[in-house]
């Protein structure tokens, strides 16, 4: 069992290490997007079903995801808040948190998706560990919630070089990536540089905590009415 975990880890590490130099040559494509294609390719080459690979590496990577979440506290604590316009930041955060829930849920509703799918879209912009907590409270289907969260992060990170090409402000680009594409967007923002990374971490963490408070309260209140 330990050996299988080690093989799974080495396969993931190998995919990441070959994705990194490719990302240097193709900086428009995030390293995570290149890496996930390499993982699927390697699993195919070695004839390993994704389910058994995931069963092996999941406990270990759950720890790593936890460490990445907790590590976000360091850039947040080190950030200078005294030169940030508080009113503007609060305005952006409230607008982002509400629109990030309303837009995907509204679109899913207009396209006649099932109630469970509409609910799963509610946590689109929240980082995975916190989205799982909110989804559990809202009785939303967890696998779909995770797919939506991960995919939106991948889409946001993958298209960010194109969408943000005229922004020319690393603070704004970072904050937008953290707010719209949570942890994967934040990982992509760190690839841009430490200023974008810190602002992305700030946007992601504050958005996650704020959404975790207001969204379940609001939905559970609506359901009781």
């Amino acid at each position: 069992m330990m050996l299988a975990v080690l093989y799974g880890f080495i396969l993931t590490l190998f995919a990441y290490l070959i994705a990194k130099p490719l990302n240097k040559r193709l900086p428009q494509v995030p390293v995570i997007v290149i890496g996930m294609f390499f993982i699927i390719g390697l699993l195919f080459v070695f004839g390993i079903p994704y389910e058994s690979y995931m069963t092996q590496v999941n406990p270990l990577f759950n720890h790593l995801l936890g460490y990445v979440t907790v590590a976000l506290a360091i850039p947040l604590a080190a950030m200078r808040y005294d030169d940030l316009p508080l009113k503007a930041i609060v305005g952006i955060l409230v607008f982002a948190s509400i629109s990030a829930v309303a837009l995907p849920m509204g679109l899913a509703y207009l396209l006649h998706m099932s109630d469970a799918s509409i609910m799963a879209f509610a946590t689109r912009a929240v980082t995975t560990p916190i989205a799982i907590n909110i989804a559990t409270l809202l009785h939303a289907p967890l696998t779909l919630v995770i797919l939506i969260v991960i995919l939106s992060g991948v889409i946001g990170a993958a298209f960010s070089p194109f969408i943000l090409r005229h922004i020319n402000d690393e603070r704004a680009s970072g904050l937008a990536l953290g707010l719209a594409a949570h942890a994967i967007g934040t990982a992509q923002a760190w690839q841009r540089g430490s200023v974008a990374g810190r602002y992305a971490a700030f946007g992601m963490a504050i958005n996650a905590v704020f959404t975790a408070i207001w969204l379940p309260t609001f939905i559970l209140y609506l359901q009781k009415m």
Partner: protein, 123 residues
């Protein structure tokens, strides 16, 4: 092999120990309250509060922040297995893929652009 000598080992060991202790401590604590799923969030908030108190008393060590920047730069690695799974699950969605992807793309990229514009103007 000179690059090994240039690594700031005490900073790496200290930073990793700080992160691991807070995360595992928070998961252990929340498991006692039957909510282990809240461990990561509690770990994040408790480390943030502790570092904020530290910052008020004494400046945060630059080596801690620098080492953490290096760790965050490689954080995409932690998301690789689950991201690959999302790609496979998407392929299995069949004829629902275009509608699903449409909602995903619109509801991610329009906000990304709008938030960046707002932040550029207001920050």
């Amino acid at each position: 092999m000179d690059w090994i000598k240039t690594i700031d080992w005490p900073a790496w060991i200290g930073t990793l120990a700080l992160i691991i202790c807070f995360r595992e401590g928070a998961v252990w604590l929340m498991t006692q309250f039957n909510h282990p799923e809240l461990g990561n969030l509690v770990g994040l908030i408790s480390l943030l509060i502790s570092l904020s108190i530290w910052r008020n008393v004494h400046k945060l060590p630059a080596r801690l922040v620098d080492t953490n920047n290096k760790i965050m730069k490689e954080s995409a690695f932690a998301f690789l297995p689950i991201s690959a799974g999302s790609l496979i699950m998407l392929v299995h969605m069949g004829k629902e893929i275009p509608v699903f992807l449409g909602v995903m793309v619109i509801s991610t990229l329009i906000p990304l652009w709008v938030y960046a514009k707002m932040a550029k103007r207001w920050l």
